[in-house]
Symmetry: C2
Subunit: 282 residues, 2 copies
Amino acid sequence: MRSEWFHNGEAVRSAALDDRGFQYGDGLFETIAVRHGEPRLWPYHLERLSAGCARLSLQPPDGDALRGALDHALQQASADPVFCVAKIILSGGVTRRGYGRDSFARASTFIGVFPSAPVSASSYRDGVQTILCDTRLAVASPTAGLKTLNRLEQVLARSECLSAAAFEGITQDAEGRVICGTMSNVFVVNDNRIVTPALDRCGVRGVMRRHAMETLCGAGREVEEADLSERELFAADEVFLTNSQFGVLPVHRCDDSEWPVGDVTRQVMAMLADSGIDECRL
Amino acid sequence: MRSEWFHNGEAVRSAALDDRGFQYGDGLFETIAVRHGEPRLWPYHLERLSAGCARLSLQPPDGDALRGALDHALQQASADPVFCVAKIILSGGVTRRGYGRDSFARASTFIGVFPSAPVSASSYRDGVQTILCDTRLAVASPTAGLKTLNRLEQVLARSECLSAAAFEGITQDAEGRVICGTMSNVFVVNDNRIVTPALDRCGVRGVMRRHAMETLCGAGREVEEADLSERELFAADEVFLTNSQFGVLPVHRCDDSEWPVGDVTRQVMAMLADSGIDECRL
């Protein structure tokens, strides 16, 4: 794995074993698409990180300082800043042993930079293969919507995708609601209505989900956040995914159900492309 | 923090940032009471670790090798092996980036040794102060019962205890069932019946909980595993906690409710003391 990590401006390869990130998954992260040297949707990543810090009672990051550290890491790293991935980890840092910590503890910041490549043009054109995962997400998580370092559910669900050689796995919560992909958010189109699952009980509020919703809203196209059943997913006219790295991708298949790449999905891709998510341009 | 860590027989202070334990909390741990050089309830710790590996599709540990590594760490560490704590972390190790990993991946093993001291005699005699935490546990976790590295709920709940200066916090699930303490299991006595919450939806199956249940069962004293409501907790005649380090402790108070240290709790403490959990002897 060609990863490069930075901590306090220095290249590092390791973190203290006593770091609360390692001990308890006590922390948050963001995975940011870097395009032409710029961290894409930076304000949304920073906002989600700050919301996570508030929820976890971690001191929120200084946006300018964090951006400076990110830019420094991108300059130092060998990955091509024209098209790469940056990952910011804010952990609870090193404290005395035990689950508890003081409120508004100072977070430790680690910045990783990784090479990356676009998803294939055929995936944008023809859609991707998905499965409905057996792994179900626990309901009513106190960190619903956030991107915390507690990602075991995604590890289990994503490992199912690897076994099935699927591009993505769609997960339900324990009560059968469709929630999101293991690394993406899900949208369905039904009778020209666009619906994306509500994420107040579990799941991650993706930055590209937000950007897509706001872009569509700005164009007078409403996206409903609602509970979505497995039946409604399979009965949908179109299904598409959003993710910070790939933007928007049509879903061609989930288990035995197939969909053509629909008009609404193509419209959304064109709108996102016009908004700067270049990969989505067909 | 006077921690000492060992990995592959060597003293270490850090782990690779790319380790899945740090990235995703992809792993398991055990916190073991070491008494007179012996890891107490070792077979139960090993069994839970192995069950966790099966659930996470990690290669299960070789019990003899792991015990050898633990004994080696205890010999190398400066903590007094007469009374200390050992922590074993099995993480998913370093893999390619992304949530998914191969089934039955080889786990990385880290062993920590920490000095420790008994809980005060007055806590055993008079009981401890607890609070009912505001943090609720998500329901129907795919890793219910296991001690995984995803411990954010416990971090949040335990931090409430620190703020309230309580010895322990009792947590409910999102649907209001009483589940466990942030670092202990809960038992209530009602009309001479001993009940402990069922842990099939969330919570951790503690090794001392198991040892207490088996010891009581061996003495012809049944312990019921059942759903337990907040009302039933507060209406209980006696409440006590179990934990691998302290054994059994009476609960004297939870929020505004108080209990005397009851006869059943004292009997359980005496039985556990006779079974080798010396701290419980009044």
